[in-house]
């Protein structure tokens, strides 16, 4: 099911943990929905000097958190802000269709931590991002990331599937 890279990051996640005196913190998801990620960053000279995460979730969610933390570490805030879901999925050598929403979550959590830092240290006002509900138990007949209609079980064409 998972690529070797995913399994490697799942088995040996990089940068696991918390940072007590973090400069920025971002949390997304909810255990009710299956996945929850918390990112902590330390910023030095506009660079992400240290990064840690904690994740409740499936193999993909853990691997995504790990690789996002790796990708962000040492980068400037601007560079790190540009990490997209697609880059995450590609770095992991692909994710199963129904797991692609996990890559969204990882990038979202990082961005949230960066925004938190900016808000706290630089007073920048965060643009609240329009969040999609990833909740698999929500009332929506068809969660947009599901890949399948959860009502009838039928495949949802790609163009609608991952419209984050």
């Amino acid at each position: 099911m998972y690529s070797e890279t995913v399994m490697d990051h799942f088995k040996n996640p990089r940068n696991v943990g918390t940072i007590e005196d973090a400069d920025g913190m971002g949390e997304v998801g909810n255990p009710v929905c299956g996945d929850m990620m918390t990112f902590y960053i330390k910023v030095k000279n506009n660079l992400i000097d240290d990064i840690k995460f904690q994740t409740f979730g499936c193999g993909a969610a853990i691997a995504v958190s790990s690789i996002v933390s790796d990708m962000a570490k040492g980068k400037t805030l601007e560079e790190a802000s540009k990490i997209t879901n697609k880059m995450v999925a590609e770095a992991l050598e692909g994710l199963p269709k129904q797991k692609l929403h996990c890559s969204n979550l990882g990038a979202d959590a990082l961005q949230k931590a960066i925004q938190d830092y900016r808000q706290k240290k630089e007073g920048t006002v965060s643009r609240p991002e329009a969040k999609k509900c990833y909740c698999p138990v929500c009332d929506l007949e068809n969660p947009m990331e599901a890949g399948f209609c959860t009502g009838c079980g039928k495949e949802i064409p790609d163009e609608h599937a991952h419209g984050h």
């Binding site: 009710v32 994740t55 409740f56 979730g57 499936c58 138990v137």
Partner: protein
Amino acid sequence: MPLVYADHVAAMPLHPKVYEAMVPYFNDFYGNPSSIHDSGEKARTAIEEARGKIARLVGSQDEEIYFTSCGTESNNLALKGVALAHQTRGKEIIISGIEHFSIMHTANALERAGFNVIRLPVDQHGLVDPAVVEKAITPQTILISIMHSNPEVGTIEPIAEIGKITRAKNVLFHSDAVSSVGTIPVDVKQLNVDLLSLSAGQFYGPKGAAALFIRKGVRILPLLDGGIQERGLRAGTENVPAIVGMGVAADLAREEIPQRLSHLKKLQVKLTEELPGRIPYLRFLGHPTQRLPGNVSVAVEYIEGEAMLLFMDMEGIQISSGSACISRSLKVSHVMLAMGVDAATAQGSLLFSFGMQNTLADVDRILETLPPVVERLRNISPVYRKAMAKKT
């Protein structure tokens, strides 16, 4: 590292005697049971013998057994076949909230086609209350379908009691006994059911063979139109080797059920008793006593099931979970939600379903392997950190 396969609700290995019995029907007796020559005759005789064996397993007459290709087809045939045949009498169907997808989604399809579907609640152990069934019946009710046992949480339903009610009220009663037949005793007379689904794959028989018991005199329409195989109720060339295998598996089940019960119970009790001493914050799911032997359903709090499964799989231990991440529809188990288990807890559910080749040593392997996996995942879980922070 020997494999510990403890996912028998998903699939079971073939009993070696079942496999042996099937082999000649692949290589020598390949005729079509509808052919009148000797090859056809041999095939026809073989499936009729198998029918008899299955009838004996569930206490029915031979001609009340209809072969299908899988449990899902049996369930679809039961619900849609009865609905179509009886719709002029009424359009109300009653099911429980913890049915298998093949009942639940079939009921949804009938609902879209204009039927009225009543979904009954269950208690925290997953039990349907017969009194609630009785109250739900109206003059429009044409069919009630309540599963015999739920494989996800192990609960065995009070089918015989419900059967008394449906018989008294003269309403057709179907039970999905796919996860029961072959593991625990199931007798259609004693249960008072009018239709009952069973599947060979759930009692060490092959995939590709299942059956629907239809009590004599019950009107039902076919789902697959075509030739008049299965007395016109299920067209299509019969899967002879699989049906032969199902027959042998039924005979074995009939003989072995007492041993199966005690062996599986032993494994279940050991795991259930010893797990809490090794892992804190567990919650056992389903009924504490009225449950499938060999079935241990437990929620490990603060972590997610798929991640546990992957680590267990790396250690050669194969199990299952009701987590949303595992279901391809990305929904948490509707069974657990119906029982009032909150979604976060259901995410951490694990299902150990033992089979006859499992041993007490397998349980020991699980008891050794699971705790470090849980610890590792709790250590990276923000949910666990928060929960512990609250407790201290």
